[in-house]
Symmetry: D3
């Protein structure tokens, strides 16, 4: 696990406010300026990072993973 | 294209502030409370939605797509 | 959770025929005209949507997530 | 490029009915029993597979990439 | 589950060296020439493939899923 | 773009051996110990990182993005 600069601009800093663990994957809630970002990651990767509730963290995701929608429907714009 | 409620909590409302088009895919910038969210979507899907700069939009993504990081390295927490 | 129109064309309507729950993520089977589509989503998001077996649902996914293959190998076309 | 059996159940067979090429990525439309499935893949991978309009193809995607939605909103079930 | 040739070039052959099962999803470790590749897949798909520790397997992923980073930061190149 | 430690174990170090640019997205080839890893990222993110052919880079991806396959078919193990 190296210290790196990742290409994506979608990086949101916040604080871990919830970790819901299960044996293989866990759900992490990061409170950011835009509200909670939810992540599902392997439980082993949480342990490698040593993440605990209250820690600062960065939630990041690729632009190719983002869907775009309109409120209410195509005709409401 | 139906009007739907999607399961993910990762839905961030904002305003389209940039569209960089190319023949197959385009990049959309949505300005949200947390800053810009970048999306790469098919150009045809932008046309189906009729999206233009200045429109309100929602950027959404699954929790399984989000990576979690620490600032600086594992030892800085 | 707003009511929205999502950009992707990959939206398949059907009926929920199976939900396999676990504490963090659950597997949902949606029976569509093309057969079963399988989804792994957070268990909390199923509860937010109030999804039960027998409900109508839409399975959707981005075009960037789809792989393309040939039956048997490159030389069989 | 080996001949393989992939784990995902989300495999839909059909016929390529459109290829929209650009230098880096291309959009492929596969007509299946459920309707068109759209894929964005690298243009080089289309050439490796030798895919042309009219060919049979399989569109596949992981269950973790699928979002689930309700028509109309959470209260319509 | 057909026998297919998949478009992506990101296909790495190796040996299954670990399977961490849970009711819905499981984590698989495939030892390749580059080191361990980790996969989270549905437990039912492992059973369909009949995968066991010691088996040969191929780990594959789309180019659109890969992030690129620099060691240490943007200024270290 | 902060300097961070990302949770995923799927991080492969190598050297950039090809960049195929287009206006919105570009394809990057990173030569690693396991062979070439292909990435499609936004062209703007390559510029933010200042990546050029010959640079060292890390290719990373989430475990949830990886599919697992068997060579030849389910019965060959």
């Amino acid at each position: 696990m190296s210290i790196i600069s990742v290409n994506t601009r979608n990086q949101f800093q916040g604080r871990v406010v919830g970790i819901n663990r299960s044996p293989v994957v866990s759900e992490i809630e990061v409170e950011t300026a835009a509200g909670i970002i939810n992540a599902v990651v392997t439980t082993s990767s949480i342990e490698r990072l040593g993440l605990r509730v209250g820690d600062e963290a960065v939630a990041l995701f690729k632009a190719t993973e983002v869907l775009i929608a309109r409120l209410g429907g195509p005709g409401n714009g």
